[in-house]
Amino acid sequence: MTLDATDRAIIAATQSGLPLVPHPYAAIAADLGMTEGVLCDRLRAMQASGIIRRIAVAPNHYALGMTANGMSVWDVDDAQVAELGQKVGDLAFVSHCYERPRALPEWPYNLFAMLHGTSREEVEALRLQVADLLGDACAGHDILYSTRILKKTGLRLRSGKG
């Protein structure tokens, strides 16, 4: 779908979050000078086309005591990566799970999964759980811990026409 100026105004008004009031969509619609019905129809259309991935809460892993995390990487049989990737993504302690291309010979891994735990020992134990789940379909794996944040800026919506 192509986004028009109204969609862009809705995105700009909601990308930092929904207000915590009993009728949040009515409140946003009033700010934008449209009816609640129009706003909700637009949101549904954007959800149906995948522009809105979901409307949900994002918890802060650190505030929940999940202070250790590791980027685990797996060399998974290409024929099975779609099915097994979904199983890994469904694990409660995995926050992001993607298939990415290998960079042979130095990088044989095609499945990336962020693992979260309360300590590095726990993260290592979680990694073994993933290894068990993948079984013979996995030819090798590794885990990379972040030692320093070198840069962190938010991804911003472009204001121009798209």
């Binding site: 009993p22 969509y25 086309s49 995948g50 505030a63 302690f93 298939e99 291309p101 130095e106 979260h116």
Partner: protein
């Protein structure tokens, strides 16, 4: 803040999704067996305590236009800080982490066009004298992060 069982149930439920409805909190509260007022108050408290980082629509950045790519470089320790400065100087570099691997620098490029990813990566290679490996997302496996109830 200490989360009780109700807070945890709210976090788990609202990670699954939030309805588009005139009174969405009332809908969710009914599912959870609490009042709308209690649900909103608990969400306020969790937001203030930063247990919740965001609540609302998650937009697919690529679907809105633009391209994103995870990149990695192997930088010798003696050059690390100098290369960091050169990489971070590019506004297209959105996040950059040092990680425990021979590939010790991992960053995300965000550009307006698909071709932009390749262009910025090649420029960084010329400036630093080191290869930039590109790891674009081929497939995303849907994610939830559940809190032990």
């Amino acid at each position: 803040m200490i989360l009780d069982a109700t807070d945890r149930a709210i976090l788990n439920q609202l990670q699954e999704g939030f309805p588009i409805d005139p009174a969405p909190f009332a809908v969710v509260a009914a599912d959870l067996g609490i009042t709308e007022t209690d649900l909103i108050a608990r969400l306020e408290a969790m937001k203030t305590a930063r247990v919740i980082t965001r609540f609302g629509p998650f937009y697919d950045a690529a679907a809105m236009g633009g391209a994103f790519c995870l990149c990695a470089m192997a930088i010798p320790p003696g050059e690390f800080d100098a290369v960091t400065a050169k990489v971070n100087a590019h506004p297209e570099v959105a996040h950059n982490y040092e990680r425990t691997h021979r590939l010790n620098m991992w960053f995300v490029l965000a550009t307006e066009t698909k071709e932009g990813i390749e262009e910025v990566a090649r420029r960084i290679e010329v400036e630093t004298g080191h290869r930039v490996l590109l790891f674009p997302k081929l497939q995303e496996f849907f994610i939830r992060f559940r809190v032990a109830a």
